[in-house]
């Protein structure tokens, strides 16, 4: 039983990371109707920023610096992607464009950092383990859970309560109406795109001590984020949170309970949700243009 409780804890840690990564993808898709396939590449940029700044280990200050640098790099990349995708109104064009950007970014990272697998140490004071329920558990993962909780509350406050959030949610629901009310939706969209990409890049830094950085990781992360968005529903913070926690648990507790089916669990969960609720568990309140 204790074994499974530790898996639940671990599922929360992975869920926290997935929430940070998938949130931007969900809002951008829900709001701008842009499927950003470069989202995984933005994550990988964050991971390699961490490799560059923290490769030899470092304290909390260096870690915070890496997070801020990654956020800035992610925001810049997100802004550029927002500008590019505005010129491409069709889904197929957007998919091809962002996929192309993803390939170019991933290749540039390989040129710069080589094709070897990189791993990162957790920052020094939290690189050990604590005993939980008779098992050793890495302290760093507990901090990741704490980060996820703080992020979820902050984003919820911002998007579901504040005036800025009202504009964002309205833009998800009906962009033309918001524009008619005199809001510069273009600026809102670029802002959300940049913020979402910054979060993905920060996710790359935070996941560094757990997943490392190597070519090909961008595709795996993008796939997981897409599953989270599909399960949670487009364009909603609560959906992304629920989807991320659910997928985190499927990958930890699900695998612990049913190891024989580990390869199918992820997509079985997605298929089950799609059968019952085709729009996802908690989609944005008003319908998104299909």
């Amino acid at each position: 039983m204790d074994t499974y409780l530790v898996s639940v804890l671990n599922g929360l840690a992975m869920g926290s990371l997935l929430f940070a990564i998938a949130l931007g993808l969900s809002l951008v898709f829900g709001m701008m109707d842009v499927l950003n396939l470069a989202h995984g590449a933005v994550y990988l940029v964050g991971a390699y920023v961490a490799v560059a700044l923290l490769g030899d280990g470092g304290g909390p200050a260096a870690f915070v610096a890496a997070v801020l640098t990654a956020a800035a790099a992610g925001a810049a990349l997100g802004g550029a992607l927002a500008a590019m995708t505005r010129a491409a109104p069709h889904h197929l064009d957007q998919a091809l464009l962002t996929l192309g950007v993803a390939l170019v970014v991933a290749e540039l990272l390989t040129v710069a950092f080589g094709s070897d697998v990189h791993s990162l140490p957790a920052p020094v004071p939290v690189d050990g383990g604590v005993r939980i329920l008779g098992e050793t558990y890495p302290v760093y993962r507990l901090l990741v859970i704490a980060f996820g909780v703080v992020l979820a509350i902050a984003v919820h406050r911002l998007v579901e309560r504040g005036p800025l959030g009202a504009v964002i949610r309205a833009a998800v629901a009906d962009r033309a109406m918001v524009a008619a009310l005199g809001v510069n939706t273009g600026r809102v969209l670029v802002g959300v795109f940049a913020a979402g990409a910054a979060l993905a890049a920060v996710g790359g830094v935070l996941a560094g001590p757990i997943l490392g950085a190597q070519p090909g990781l961008d595709e795996k992360v993008l796939l997981l984020a897409l599953v989270v968005v599909v399960v949670g529903g487009l364009g909603s913070v609560r959906g992304a949170l629920l989807g991320a926690v659910l997928i985190g648990q499927v990958q930890a507790l699900g695998v612990a309970l049913l190891p024989e089916y580990a390869s199918f669990l992820l997509f079985a969960a997605m298929a089950a949700v799609l059968l019952v609720r085709p729009a996802g568990l908690l989609p944005a309140a008003a319908g998104v243009r299909a």
Binding site: V117, G212, S263
Partner: protein
Amino acid sequence: MGALCAVLRSLRRSATISGLAVGALALAGCAGSSLGPSGAGGSGDEVTLGLLVPLSGVYAPLGEDMRDGFRLYLDQHGGRLGGRTVKVVTADEGETPQTGVPAAQKLVTQDRAAAVVGVVNSATALGLRDFFHESKVPLLVANAGADAITGDRGSPYVWRTSFANGKVGAALGPAVADEVDGGVYLITADYAAGREMVGGFRKAFTAAGGKVAGEKYTPFGKTQDYQPYLSAIRSSGAKAVFSFYAGAEAVNFVKQYKQFGLADKIPLYGTGFLTEGGVLSAQGAAAVGVKTSLHYSTELDTPANKAFVDAYRKKYNEAPTVYSVQAYDAAAVLDKALAKATGATGEDLAKALGQVGTIDSPRGPWSFDAQHDAQQKYYLREVRSDGGAIVNAVVRELG
């Protein structure tokens, strides 16, 4: 004939302008060969060799090491093998047979390589077997470990300078049965190489009186977090773990094995790929104490290996890996075979490959066995921290 068929197949598959152009070039190359004075692989003194290694995708680090090892041997011998000037044509194997097979076909049909060296992916090697068999061109496999390559699907034209998965695992079996008092848990990635290595280990291990405490096959290429499996290992009461992972999976597995506190209580054994080359650098101190079996370590205390490691470090400014040695040895094999070959055809070269005898390699002397596989010593290695550097120290030879 096989080459022509392959060209026609590729034409049918991709009826594009570029496909046609490549096909036309390949056909032109064939025509030249039937009219030209010499056999395959270049004219007179010169011989063309194909180097087929992954330079993109997840196996790229291995491919780069193999390319470097092959080049080092050539450089040390003035660019000549068996008294003939060598022209090396390199092709990118990529990740899968979809990229590897056409690249090999191009090396043989278009560049007219006398022999091809390389191949990391076992599926690619198995997919190429018929092509090389029918083209009568030797293929020297310098990594791909599937047992069938030199087993059920062997060919007079396919030789292997690396290892067979089952044998690497089996080498460690008796040693673990001897050292561990209690059950051993088996865990590996769920694909052919993992199952063959664990299968080879299990057979030798149980034959030596060992007990299996449990086993798990984790989804290959999809598992980032091993915590659920690590918890299962802990609750199984196993006294040791045997595993095989490579690349990013090896890094994550070994690091998490340490992070979740198993490394201090349950010794981790594995095949050497678990802690080889760039993987070991990424694992760092988390890998200390892991014991593995492999046919090479940079720490082997022999004059041949010391000279090799020094030369390699001088040229590339990094330590060699088992992958570099496998390709280095493939060049050494070709050096002897080209000198012994009585004619210039692929048949002559394949016959000469059977007569190369013992290769005095950095890994120790080895020779081809009856199935064209490398017959060699395996070493028990333990990851140790040696003055800041993490290395695979050699504990002893495995019987």
